[in-house]
């Protein structure tokens, strides 16, 4: 259609994505509860809304396809077609096609598979059902499938007086209508037009009567006018039907309720965020509170006398509370339930189980756990990978399971929970577990572990599977499961300040644990000092802080400093050496060691002192400067000074590099 509409396309895509997800979730449930009317109705509504929306926003290919899908669903809903497993499979296939079509519409995919055959199968499924259940009386087609059924409509459009002021242009809408229908006649009703003196150029006085021919349903034609529907008088009447019973459809009865269109004003290329009205309302209430607080403060400071001191303190305290809450609430806008990331897995598991012959039950918990939206996007692919791995390599075949005395059906858990300032996501299975010896052998072969080195702890051994190149080796994936691209999984999680670890018990299963910060903008940090410089470390990467005894610090082969912490030998990293600072302390036994851990790698960081723990707002250094090695960002301390935030994973790698170059 026109520029007018394209601005809303992004909102439509967002909405459609939700609808497709709903469709899928309900279709999956329908497999287990084939008799549920409610599920069927929901699925039908999803298809209907997608069709309506795509027609309005100018995606005829999607509209055409979903129309045949909708027709079939309508027949199923009316019990004219029986829901068989084959039919469900067809519906899944159709759903994938809808997804594909949307990818094309968004410009993410070049071309969708030809859907002519799929449409034919959908149509024949619909008709086949009719023939079997109700003889002969086929429902008159609504339009798309058979093009000859175009109908004549009489339409009356009287835009509200205010539509021009609201930015709508009836002219554009009418020309948009011409795209959807052939206009036979149009008559402009000028009766409301006042004399020139009384004319307000911003008021719309005109109305139109038109006759048109279209293969669309009246509802679809009206959808073009959705944006002015509320204040306007728009009716459409089918001419043939007029004689008997006028089937006037009110414009407002479009498939989308106005409440769903919360945040629709955005440029097409800008990413949009759908925020629940509830969250927004609370935020606005809070802003109101802030304004009141502000006036309390002004009042208390005006003509200030000591007598006003208690009121001033009270005002400041209340301001403090409000601003903290405002910050939390504003942050919460970016948070969405992790359900969105989990939603795709039931289908994945179903398809995998069907194709592999394994019996797998997926159990999810903590769907409501909220996570930053960017984080949800960032973990989608790694999660997919982990789940596939668990199903493919972790879980045994049914025969193997029975032989091992386990239940035939394998279990796969997806759990999300909040733990302090972190979100934990676990992907667990009750499969065969990792083969420790095999990994150890492989690690020695690949030189990750010197051939003569003592056997490291189990945790260290299992952490090897996250090493680059380790994973792709076929024999490891075959024997121990796990592995294809685990290093990629780890890297994508690190990119969002996440960490990954695992626990496994041979024969009983594996649990992969992802730890993510709650949001990317705020970090629970520990500030520490080296000389007169202050640095902040994310609490998530700190294991503990200790003051070592001098006999615990050793020099390995005369160059690598290590420290033994309760029997575990860790490399000692001198922060001042890496950063070229002037420390107050150079003797480890006089300073403090902060034990850092990142993706299974550990090290002890020597610093002068610990200052304290606080929540810090992460600011970018790169925005105005450049990426600095070992620094993840900056933050502003209470006194206005800037403190740098350490990039732990890079620090650990840098240290490894220093040691290597010293060798």
């Amino acid at each position: 259609m026109n520029i007018d509409i394209s601005a809303f396309q992004q909102a439509f895509f967002d909405e459609a994505a939700d609808l497709i997800a709903d469709f899928e979730t309900n279709l999956l449930s329908l497999e287990d509860h084939p008799d549920s009317e409610e599920l069927l109705n929901t699925i039908f509504r999803c298809a209907h809304s997608i069709k309506g929306g795509s027609a309005t926003f100018g995606f005829p290919a999607i509209a055409k396809f979903t129309h045949s899908l909708e027709t079939l669903l309508d027949q199923v809903r009316d019990h004219k077609v029986i829901l068989t497993p084959e039919l469900t499979a067809l519906l899944f296939e159709a759903l994938d096609q809808v997804r594909q079509l949307f990818a094309v519409a968004k410009g993410e995919a070049a071309d969708a598979a030809d859907d002519a055959d799929l449409i034919r199968r959908l149509e024949s499924a619909a008709v086949g059902g009719v023939a079997a259940a109700v003889p002969a009386k086929a429902k008159p087609d609504e339009g798309w499938g058979v093009w000859s059924v175009a109908k004549r409509y009489r339409m009356h459009i009287a835009p509200g007086a205010d539509v021009l002021r609201k930015g709508a242009d009836p002219m554009l809408l009418l020309s948009g209508l011409a795209d959807e229908a052939d206009i036979l006649s149009i008559r402009c009703d000028e009766s409301r037009l006042p004399t020139l003196e009384a004319l307000d150029p911003e008021t719309c006085y005109l109305a139109w009567d038109l006759e048109l021919v279209s293969d669309r349903e009246p509802g679809a034609l009206l959808e073009a006018f959705d944006f002015i529907a509320e204040e306007s008088e728009i009716t459409i009447v089918e001419i043939e039907a007029e004689a008997q019973a006028p089937t006037a459809v009110e414009a407002a009865s479009g498939p989308r309720s106005s409440g769903e269109q919360t945040v629709a004003v955005a440029k097409p290329e800008a990413a949009t965020l759908r925020v629940s009205a509830d969250k927004l309302d609370r935020l606005i209430n809070l802003v109101g509170e802030m304004v009141i607080n502000q006036s309390m403060l002004s009042e208390a400071t005006q003509n200030f006398t000591t007598a006003k001191l208690p009121r001033l303190l009270e005002a400041v305290a209340s301001m403090e509370r409000a601003s903290r809450e405002l910050q939390e609430r504003a942050m919460a806008i970016r948070l969405v339930p992790i359900r969105q990331a989990f939603a795709r897995f039931p289908r994945l598991v179903r398809d995998f189980a069907a194709s592999s012959g394994k019996q797998i039950e997926l159990k999810t918990s903590g769907d409501e756990t909220e996570l930053d939206r960017t984080m949800i996007e960032a973990i989608a692919d790694p999660l997919m990978h982990l789940v596939r791995n668990s199903m493919d390599h972790g879980l045994e075949t049914t025969e193997e399971r029975i032989a091992a005395g386990k239940p035939a059906e394998g279990s796969l858990w997806l759990r999300a929970l909040q733990e302090g300032g972190n979100i934990i996501i676990e992907v667990a299975d009750d499969g065969r577990g990792l083969d420790r010896d095999r990994i150890l052998k492989k690690a020695r072969e690949r030189g990750l572990l010197a051939g003569d080195a003592p056997e490291p702890s189990n945790d260290t051994i299992y952490a090897y599977i996250f090493e680059p190149g380790f994973s792709t080796a076929a024999e490891v994936t075959d024997i121990s499961g796990r592995g294809v691209g685990m290093d990629i999984v780890r890297r994508s999680l690190q990119a969002v300040n996440g960490a990954i670890g695992l626990t496994t018990t041979p024969g009983q299963g594996t649990c992969i644990r992802i730890r993510l910060p709650l949001t990317m903008a705020i970090l629970e940090g520990l500030s520490l000092s080296v000389g007169n410089e202050v640095y902040v470390v994310a609490l998530t990467s700190i294991v503990e802080s200790i003051q070592p005894r001098s006999q615990d610090v050793h020099l390995l082969s005369g160059r690598d400093e290590v420290v033994s912490v309760r029997g575990e030998v860790l490399p000692l990293v001198r922060l001042h050496a890496i950063f070229g600072s002037e420390p107050n302390v150079t003797d480890p036994s006089q300073g403090l060691l902060v034990i850092l851990e990142n993706d299974g790698r550990k090290a002890a960081l020597l610093v002068d002192e610990l200052i304290g723990q606080s929540q810090v707002v992460i600011k970018s250094i790169e925005a105005n400067h450049r990426k600095v090695d070992g620094i993840a960002g900056a933050t502003i301390l209470g006194d206005g000074r800037v403190a740098l935030i350490l990039d732990v994973s890079q620090l650990l790698r840098m240290n490894a590099g220093l040691t290597a170059s010293a060798a």
């Binding site: 410089e533 890496i578 950063f579 070229g580 600072s581 600011k619 970018s620 250094i621 925005a623 105005n624 400067h625 600095v628 090695d629 070992g630 620094i631 900056a634 502003i636 206005g640 000074r641 800037v642 403190a643 740098l644």
Partner: protein, 163 residues
């Protein structure tokens, strides 16, 4: 000739003029296009950024934005001095990045007719040629006009501007 006089002079000439913020560095007068300048603030201690080029003295919190501060003396290979009460940070915006430059002291804003701006003296050094956009006589002072983009976005070697 004061700033007002030079403005008057420019108006008489009737030609196009540009405004420059001038400052001193080791006794020499330099100017930057006023349209690039966001603000001027007194020198305050910065936070050192490890693993950075020597001219980056640190970063500063400018009302919530982290801004890198570049010492022009170091950048130009001049002798370093202790910052005194006159030392100032000229905050400029180059290609949407905000950066600060430490100068000895800020002088004034002058209007210089385009016609009075001479091409930079050819000192044979490409680095200095890139940093200088022109020279202009303002009263009895010779002002070296700097190209802030070339200085702040150009990577690497000191521009060796010592006059």
């Amino acid at each position: 000739m004061s700033a007002e006089e030079s403005t008057a002079h420019a108006n008489e000439a009737g030609g196009q003029t540009s405004q420059f913020l001038t400052f001193t560095l080791a006794g020499e007068e330099y100017g930057v296009d006023i349209l690039k300048v966001q603000e001027i603030k007194g020198y305050v201690a910065t936070t050192r950024v490890p693993n950075s080029p020597p001219e980056v003295v640190g970063v500063l919190n400018l009302r919530g934005t982290i801004v890198p501060i570049i010492d022009l003396r170091t950048k130009f290979g001049l002798e370093a001095i202790a910052y005194d009460a006159f030392a100032a940070i000229v905050v400029v915006v180059v290609e949407n990045q905000i950066k600060g430059m430490v100068v000895d002291r800020v002088s004034e804003v002058v209007s210089i007719p385009k016609a009075d701006i001479q091409p930079p003296a050819d000192c044979g050094s490409t680095a200095s040629a890139r940093a200088v956009s022109g020279m202009a006589q303002v009263g009895d002072k010779l002002v070296t006009l700097l190209d802030v983009e070339a200085i702040l976005l150009g990577q690497g070697e000191p521009a060796a501007l010592s006059a």
